[in-house]
Symmetry: none
Subunit: 243 residues, 2 copies
């Protein structure tokens, strides 16, 4: 029996449940994406109130261990895609450095894919793409210019509001697509006219150019993100884990 809940323990019941579920996830008994027993099931199994179970699960949802889906169930969360891929590294990095990160949307349009971009997205030149341009700021100082390209037919229903939220969540939960991996290229370059204006640096200043290709489970390219970081104020930290 794994009835490890002790109603008379000084530890709150919800906490005991929390640890039990977390333990099962960490031991791999509950796999990513797998549905966990329903709230009512837990309540009945342990002879406690459903609200108490909810409290435990709510905490785990807030900690990113679980996700709820109304009408369906509660599932073991995928490791946060964005961050695992280092996608929001700018935000995180800036926070870690004690600076206040922010993002300014400067352009959101539908255009036609040209050579390199079409190739990167695996579509034909002339196909429709979303082109989203943002400035990344730290303490209101422009640090990077980021341009995202997405194949329009892949992410139908995308709009400005979603772009300002989490694109990856939208893609996974709304469109049911699974993000698999990303590739990044780094290279040194110099600021061109447009970039120097947005970043408020002199034309010709050294910049760091980063191109990221994100792919879906089925191998299709999802997005191409090109970021230009000013070299004088920003230095990258990339963690190379899990070789």
């Amino acid at each position: 029996m794994k009835n490890m809940i002790d109603k008379y323990s000084p530890l709150p019941i919800y906490y005991q449940i929390e640890e039990a579920i977390k333990g099962r996830i960490e031991k791999g008994e509950l796999q990513e994406g797998e549905m966990i027993p329903s709230e009512r099931e837990y309540a009945e199994t342990y002879g406690i109130s459903r609200m108490t179970v909810r409290q435990a699960i709510t905490n785990l949802v807030n900690d990113g261990y679980l996700t709820r889906r109304k009408g369906k169930g509660t599932f073991v969360a995928n490791q946060k895609i964005e961050q695992k891929l280092g996608l929001t590294s700018f935000t995180e990095d800036m926070k870690a450095r004690g600076l206040k990160p922010s993002t300014k949307l400067i352009d959101f349009q539908i255009s036609e894919a040209r050579g390199k971009i079409a190739a990167g997205l695996g579509i034909h030149p002339g196909d429709e793409i979303y082109e989203i341009q943002r400035v990344r700021l730290a303490d209101n100082i422009p640090m990077a210019l980021e341009t995202t390209y997405l194949a329009a037919d892949l992410v139908k229903g995308l709009n400005q509001r979603i772009v300002q939220g989490s694109l990856y969540q939208f893609v996974e939960e709304e469109l049911g697509l699974n993000i698999d991996y990303a590739t990044q290229e780094l290279e040194a370059s110099v600021a061109r006219e447009t970039e120097s204006e947005v970043l408020r640096i002199a034309k010709g200043t050294p910049v760091l150019l980063i191109r990221r290709y994100t792919y879906l489970k089925d191998g299709r390219p999802l997005e191409l993100v090109q970021s230009i970081y000013r070299g004088d104020r920003y230095k990258f930290i990339i963690d190379m884990q899990r070789g």
Copy 2:
């Protein structure tokens, strides 16, 4: 009257309360550190259940707007410090990336302040200081070397156990000192002998050096933290796969 709660709105009541409180904070009607009305008071005011109020407040606590103190009340959180000082930034940062953060205490000693450190802490050379050295790891891979300097007479009673918990909580709650602000310096550097050993990188590898000075409300410096992050400027292509 500002009874803006509509029981028959499609918006959940807890959400309406949430927005109302958040609004009052953002408009400055509720100041940082100020106590907000008690849960029972909200419940009575709006004619709703205390549990519903709790749901709203719990969300705001999770979002960092409020903090609860048992027996005392619920207070508007001091966001600046948490965010701007990035007190738990490393831990948060790594968690957000799906890595398991850990901290290894490698040195805890009382020594004498030397020039730059004494100046930074506003004390005289030769005065006693605590010197705490930690390695920050992500998935057991060393990521940063962090050295904290504290004036000994300011934080009497500090011990190893406290250091492994929250220093800031100890300072604010036990010593009754108020942390006010911090300044940070960033610079690029290269790994020296000691650092390269601890971080397991080659001597001379580029690293990011961050110096943070934290000050109390009365203007006295509380601590000087020097962090050395490993940098990876020369990595070219990074592939990140999801489990």
